[in-house]
Symmetry: C2
Subunit: 216 residues, 2 copies
């Protein structure tokens, strides 16, 4: 389970638990602007009662992304590029390839049968590494390049939210009793969500669409 | 250029330079038993006159591999499993998936057109993540999941040594004037190569097969 501590990955964790998977949560720090997410990831993993690990990667070139680089301005045009096909400035080069690889390494070491990612319909309109074709291609890499694959076991890449928009994710999260008050979506990472970044706006729109008040 | 400082990746670097590529060397520390390789990687990059970066990943579960875990014994049966199809204990779960991902992230951030890996015929008899099928699958991940791919540029995975055995690599290295005295192959990482590990034995066999004295 790749767990950022946000709404999407937290919902995935509860989805996987409900499906009966024995889960292990993995948070990856890759130089995000803030570590606030990590507090949420720990709280969500604890609430779910699953083991949780953090690994830290230092990839300085990721600073070309506004999500990582401190000198770049976060986009505040709401959902500006969603659906336009253009890649947002918050795109982190190769991010999900790296995240899935790290998760795959853990999965291959521990004998896990699947990796779970929170990629979803909102993300994949803008980020190339959130699309179903990317996940299928990644499964083929794992079939070819892991011990599991060599031994005839497949490591699957599960993206249970892939067809949901934010309102759908909020509804699913409520049904699964995800501790929404513990989740963190804001890109900025202050004490309270900024309410202005794309991620805050998407979250607000999702809660509004689901007719649910955001406890966070 | 993924550059470990060993014979294979150092030869790749000189191969890419000879082909006219503007190279950037990238060394990844993932908890190997020793950092001795790094001294070699820096020396080789300097000799080749290319920029060099190091990134450090902390992936504690990799300790299941004898190449990383300090409690596991390195195999000293010479080339014991080569060709048998079995995976050696020095297999690091998902290692090359992670290494190629990190290189891909840099390539996507910098606009590079290719990633170069030292995978070769000796490796791919035992390690699933050194085989041509793995590289082709990985190229498809990059086509699907990077900015470059989304913009119609392909990031290629080049493995120029893929069909060579160690003697062939030594001959190529000599032709390309690779500073062989700077390269490091030993898994153990003392002051001098141990001469007993699989990697030392493969290297010795390669030099013998090429009729060349090993300057290291």
């Amino acid at each position: 389970m790749l767990l950022s501590g946000g709404l999407d990955s937290s919902t995935c964790l509860y989805w996987a638990k409900a499906r009966g998977y024995a889960c292990e949560a993995l948070s990856v720090l890759y130089g995000q602007r803030h570590d606030r997410e990590l507090v949420s990831a720990r709280a969500v993993a604890r609430a779910a009662g699953v083991p949780w690990r953090v690994v830290r990667l230092s990839l300085p070139w990721l600073a070309v992304s506004s999500l990582v680089g401190r000198k770049r301005r976060l986009p505040d045009a709401p959902l500006s590029r969603i659906g336009s096909g253009a890649i947002p400035s918050t795109y982190v080069p190769g991010r999900n390839t790296v995240l899935l690889s790290v998760a795959a390494s853990l999965a291959d070491a521990s004998g896990a049968e699947a990796i779970v990612t929170g990629a979803n319909a909102i993300d994949f309109s803008g980020y190339p590494d959130c699309r179903p074709g990317f996940h299928r291609a990644f499964e083929k890499v794992l079939a070819a390049g892991t011990r599991a694959g060599a031994e005839g076991r497949r490591i699957r890449v599960l993206a249970p939210l892939i067809k949901l928009d934010k309102a759908g994710i909020v509804r699913l999260a409520r049904r699964l009793r995800v501790p929404l008050e513990e989740t963190w979506s804001c890109y900025a990472g202050g004490r309270r969500p900024c309410g202005r970044c794309d991620s805050c706006k998407l979250r607000a729109k999702g809660f509004a669409g689901a007719g649910v008040e955001d406890p966070a």
